[in-house]
Structure formats: structure tokens, C-alpha cells
């Protein structure tokens, strides 16, 4: 319906928020760590030590700040002038042994820099015991991880939250009453409320995919067709969820709260976007199996990053489809029930 376009605020929320989120998450909220300040401590500056230091200097992840005396290491770390120090053993050239010291106050930076430093130094050492390959994401870019996660979140936000508000708003303004008295079928009302948001979300999907591809260099390895198809199912699912919420509550505030608390939090926590599902306690892991974004994000990761064909995400897609149908049925049912229940509310008034 036309009036969604008239509502400037909604349009802003719907079209601008995804942009901001994707840029924010894609660029800033990454677990990539750049420009780690590093110093080296080497009692014996052999040829292999300077070779290792050259490697560190060459890496874009590190900002090499020179050498430091052993007695100053603690002070440098404590004052925050550096966040990592590599101490080369005096027999480094022969044994290849070294010690790494990190500022553990920032755990994420410390653990990430540890991994980086190790791989850089391993590359320089004559004989590396392991040969580590990161499949699909060789540079370990976190935007690869985040983009599917954000997509799962944004569509929940827009489709579910916006639609949930839209129907409740009609209840508040009283237009819903008139629609109910009119010969329009409830299912038709629901569909006509969903279609505009579906269109908006599709525009969003296009924007996000373009941004991800051109700005964040996320590969669309599995083919755009599959990604769009799976996203479409997910969109309808989110819309149905929003419908159900709005049929249950009576005010816009309640709809907003429910969308935010009941839907956003689980999405963030249980979808595997932030925390690996495998790390969750078993009870919570079971909950995560019911949460649609989990399957969507899973499927998106596979399609985008690993580049599998559509038939390899059949399980995810199947679950999404089943949940969509179930939610649609529930939303329509709830809508019908409402009509009778209204009478009960009037009794109380």
C-alpha cells in the first residue's frame, strides 16, 4: 500500500539502517586486528632474527616499533605503548625458539595477534612443523563471517519488526476495524500488508549483496540465484513472524518490544553469528535448532563463502520452508481468532 512510501521515517529506517549496519559490521566491528604495535627483544641479533623482524615489518597487520631491552618489556606493555613483544631466544638461529608476550587486557586483540605472529614467524623459520591452510577464507577475513550474519539479522529487523508494527498501527488508528467490517478476507489483508515490505526487503537484499560483493569483497561463490532464492524464503518467514506478533499484541510499543526482545536477542545469540553454536550448552543448542536465522545464516555461509551448490543446502532450505508455512498458518489463524476475542475485550471496557 502506498502509505508506507509516504511514511518517511519508516523508509529511512528500512533503507538506511541496513546500509549503516553492513558498513559498520563489515569494516569496523571485525575481529580482524590491524596495526598491532609490536616490539622485539633479542639479546643476540643474528641473521635469522632480523629475517624474522623483516617478516613482521612486511605484514600489514603489524606496526613494528623497534627493539626493546628485556627490562623494559613490562613497562612498554603496561603503558600500552605496544600490545605484543616477541622475545627471541639467544639461540634462535639454531633452535628457532621464541617467546611471545601480549597485553592480555584486550583478550580479542591478544589472541588474534598471537595467531598472526605465529604464522608470520612460522613462515620465516627454516622448518615449520605445520602447514596450516584456511579453506574458503584464506585471509581469515571476518567480513566473510559477518555478512551472512548481518543479513540474517537485518531481514529479521526489517521484515519482522516493520510488519509487526504495521498491523498494530492499523489497530491503533482504527482503520483495522473498518477493514474488518469490509468484505476483504483476512488472508488478503495479511498478504497486502506483507507485499510492500517484501518488495522493500528485496531492494534491501540487492543493496546488501552489492555492498558485500564490491565493498567487502565477499565472494558469491555459490551463485547469486541460490542466494536470492534462499533469502526470499527467509524474507517470507520473517514477514510471517512479524504478522504473528502484530496479531497478538495491541499496541505499537508492545510490538516493538516483542520484536526486539523476543526476536533480536535470540537471533544474535543463537544464530551462530556471534558465538559458535557448538560452544553453547546443550539446552541452548537445542533452542538454536528452532531459530530460523540459524539455518539461514548457515545456508548463506555455505552459498557465499564455500560456494556449494543449492542442492547441498537442502536441509537448511527445507527447514526454513517448513517453518515459513507453519508461521503463515499460525498468523492467519491468530488473525481470525482475534475477531472473536475482540468482543471479550469490549466486555472488560
Amino acid at each position: 500500500m502506498l502509505h508506507i512510501l509516504r511514511d518517511k521515517r519508516t523508509m529511512l529506517v528500512v533503507l538506511v539502517i541496513p546500509l549503516i549496519l553492513i558498513v559498520l559490521f563489515g569494516f569496523t566491528v571485525t575481529t580482524d586486528v590491524n596495526n598491532i604495535k609490536v616490539m622485539a627483544c633479542a639479546p643476540h641479533r643474528s641473521h635469522s632474527v632480523s629475517e624474522a623482524v623483516n617478516h613482521i615489518q612486511a605484514s600489514p597487520y603489524f606496526d613494528f616499533r623497534g627493539f626493546v631491552d628485556a627490562c623494559d618489556i613490562d613497562r612498554m606493555l603496561r603503558t600500552g605503548q605496544v600490545s605484543a613483544v616477541v622475545v627471541f631466544a639467544s639461540d634462535y638461529s639454531s633452535s628457532g625458539s621464541y617467546q611471545m608476550l601480549f597485553d592480555g587486557a584486550d583478550v580479542n586483540t591478544a589472541s588474534t595477534s598471537q595467531a598472526y605472529l605465529q604464522s608470520v614467524l612460522a613462515g620465516s623459520a627454516a622448518a615449520s612443523p605445520f602447514d596450516v591452510h584456511m579453506l574458503y577464507n584464506p585471509q581469515m577475513k571476518s567480513s566473510y563471517n559477518f555478512v551472512p550474519g548481518i543479513m540474517g539479522m537485518i531481514f529479521m529487523l526489517i521484515c519482522a519488526m516493520m510488519t509487526s508494527i504495521s498491523i498494530v498501527r492499523e489497530k491503533e488508528t482504527g482503520t483495522m476495524e473498518v477493514l474488518l467490517v469490509s468484505p476483504v478476507k483476512p488472508l488478503y489483508i495479511i498478504i497486502s500488508k506483507m507485499v510492500p515490505y517484501l518488495l522493500l526487503s528485496l531492494i534491501n537484499l540487492a543493496i546488501i549483496l552489492l555492498l558485500a560483493y564490491y565493498m567487502l569483497d565477499v565472494p558469491m561463490a555459490g551463485g547469486v540465484g541460490g542466494i536470492v532464492l534462499v533469502s526470499f524464503i527467509y524474507l517470507v518467514l520473517a514477514l510471517a513472524l512479524g504478522m504473528m506478533v502484530s496479531n497478538m499484541v495491541q499496541s505499537q510499543i508492545a510490538a516493538l518490544l516483542i520484536s526486539a526482545m523476543v526476536m533480536m536477542m535470540p537471533v544474535i545469540i543463537f544464530s551462530g553469528m556471534m558465538f559458535p553454536i557448538e560452544n553453547l550448552p546443550w539446552a541452548l543448542r537445542w533452542i538454536s535448532y528452532v531459530i530460523p536465522p540459524r539455518w539461514y545464516i548457515d545456508a548463506m555461509r555455505k552459498l557465499m563463502i564455500e560456494g556449494v551448490a543449492l542442492c547441498d543446502v537442502v536441509l537448511e532450505v527445507g527447514i526454513l520452508l517448513a517453518e515459513t508455512v507453519a508461521l503463515m498458518a499460525a498468523a492467519t489463524k491468530k488473525f481470525n481468532d482475534r475477531l472473536e476475542q475482540k468482543g471479550v475485550n469490549f466486555k472488560i471496557l
Binding site: 482504527g174 473498518v178 467490517v181 468484505p183 468482543g343 466486555k347
Partner: protein
């Protein structure tokens, strides 16, 4: 006599509570039928049953020739409805609202155009056809809502406290509209709290605790109860 609404023993129970308790009445074509009662007397519940929004627990009723028990959908097609709350889309223009509701009732584009011109001319509002409803004062909005409710030329229009919060002059104009529509043969079923408005009705019913306490022309009721005005009638009956 040709009745547009005919109701016998209509009852709606919620659990053991009877919101509407066996009411019977009939409304003629082109009649302005006032439906009065204190808050919670069951007016709205009764109206919802007549509009096909909720099913009666007992009793029978015909609205526009259709059974309220089984033909709710057909009833909806033949009635107009205006709720106590303002109910047009504020972010659509006057004409877009008419277009939307005309479309909902299955009117053709050409019919919508001619009908809306006719209606807007009647309230001298054709100049404001493309104004956003938001920008209009409440009185105008209410008149407009009534026009929209009669877009599809229904045989009967249900008005649920249509003049709540409207100033006396606009209320008078509003009632002129209602009477105009009634003269053209549209029956009007109206609930109200304003007793001076009750005097405009051809006949009124007063509901108390889910039952009809009185049903007659306003002047006849005043005579029966030896009341000077409708206010007194209402107070005497409801006490």
C-alpha cells in the same frame, strides 16, 4: 413493511456473562435508528453481530436480507461502517482514501471517480481532493469518513459514535449529511452519547444491561415518561 434489519432474540454470551441478552427489533429502509445506552450496555457488541464481525450465541437476525448466523460475508458487502475512532488513512490523500475503500468494496475505477466527485460536491470539498487527510481538522475528517463509508452506496450504514469529540456546529452539519443520506433511502443505524442527537432519530432504542429497555420515537418516549427532554428520558430509564 420492508425491513432492512430484523432481529429476534439476539444474544451474545461471553462465558456466563450475557453482553447482549435476547434483543429484538426491526429497522425500516431509509430510517434513522438511534441505538442508545450507557457505556458497557452492550451496544457495540450488538453492532458487531449485525456487521458480521462476531457470531451471536443465540437468536436470529437478518441484515440487508442476509442471515447474521451464516452469511456474514454477504452482509459485509452490503453495509457501510464508520467507527467511533477516526478511521481513514492519515497519510493518504482524500481521494486515495476513497479509491482504496471503493476498491475494497469491488467498485470499478470509473464508478469510484464519479461517486467520489458526487460525494465531495455534497460537502463542498472537491477542492481538497488531493489534501493529505492528516492536514484536515477533525470535523472535516469525520464528515469525510462518513462519505467514505457510503462510497459503495450501501443499503444501511452503521455509525458507532460518529460525532465523539466534534464541535456542535460540525455535529449539526454531520447530522444534515446523515439525514440527506436517509432521504435517499439509506438506513442509518447510529449509536451516540449525545441526547440532543437522539432527537434527530426517527426511532431510538435504549439498552440497559444487554436488554432493550425502550423502543419508540423520541417524542413518544418523552411523553410516556413525562420527561422534558431526551436527557431525562435516558436518566429515568437507566437508573
Amino acid at each position: 413493511m420492508d425491513y432492512i434489519i430484523e432481529v429476534k432474540g439476539l444474544t451474545k454470551r461471553f462465558g456466563s456473562f450475557a453482553a447482549v441478552d435476547g434483543i429484538s427489533f426491526a429497522v425500516r429502509r431509509g430510517e434513522i435508528f438511534g441505538f442508545l445506552g450507557a457505556n458497557g450496555a452492550g451496544k457495540t457488541t450488538a453492532m458487531r453481530m449485525l456487521c458480521g464481525l462476531s457470531f451471536p450465541t443465540e437468536g436470529s437476525g437478518m441484515v440487508a436480507g442476509f442471515d447474521v448466523m451464516t452469511q456474514g460475508e454477504q452482509i459485509k458487502r452490503h453495509i457501510g461502517y464508520m467507527s467511533q475512532r477516526f478511521s481513514l488513512y492519515e497519510d493518504l490523500t482524500v481521494y486515495e482514501n476513497m479509491e482504496l475503500f471503493g476498491g475494497i468494496y469491488g467498485m470499478k475505477q470509473a464508478d469510484i471517480a464519479s461517486r467520489s466527485r458526487e460525494l465531495l460536491d455534497r460537502i463542498n470539498f472537491a477542492d481538497h481532493k488531493d489534501d493529505l487527510v492528516q492536514s484536515l481538522p477533525l470535523g472535516w475528517r469525520q464528515k469525510l469518513a462518513f462519505m467514505v463509508a457510503t462510497m459503495h452506496s450501501p443499503e444501511i450504514v452503521f455509525l458507532d459514535e460518529p460525532t465523539g469529540g466534534v464541535d456542535p456546529i460540525t455535529r449539526r452539519q454531520f447530522w444534515d449529511l446523515i439525514r440527506g443520506a436517509a432521504r435517499q433511502g439509506t438506513a442509518i443505524f447510529v449509536t451516540t452519547h449525545y441526547m440532543d442527537e437522539a432527537a434527530y432519530c426517527d426511532r431510538i432504542t435504549i439498552m440497559v444491561d444487554g436488554r432493550i429497555k425502550a423502543l419508540d420515537a423520541p417524542s413518544a418516549l418523552m411523553q410516556q415518561l413525562e420527561a422534558k427532554n431526551m436527557n431525562e428520558v435516558f436518566v429515568k430509564l437507566c437508573r
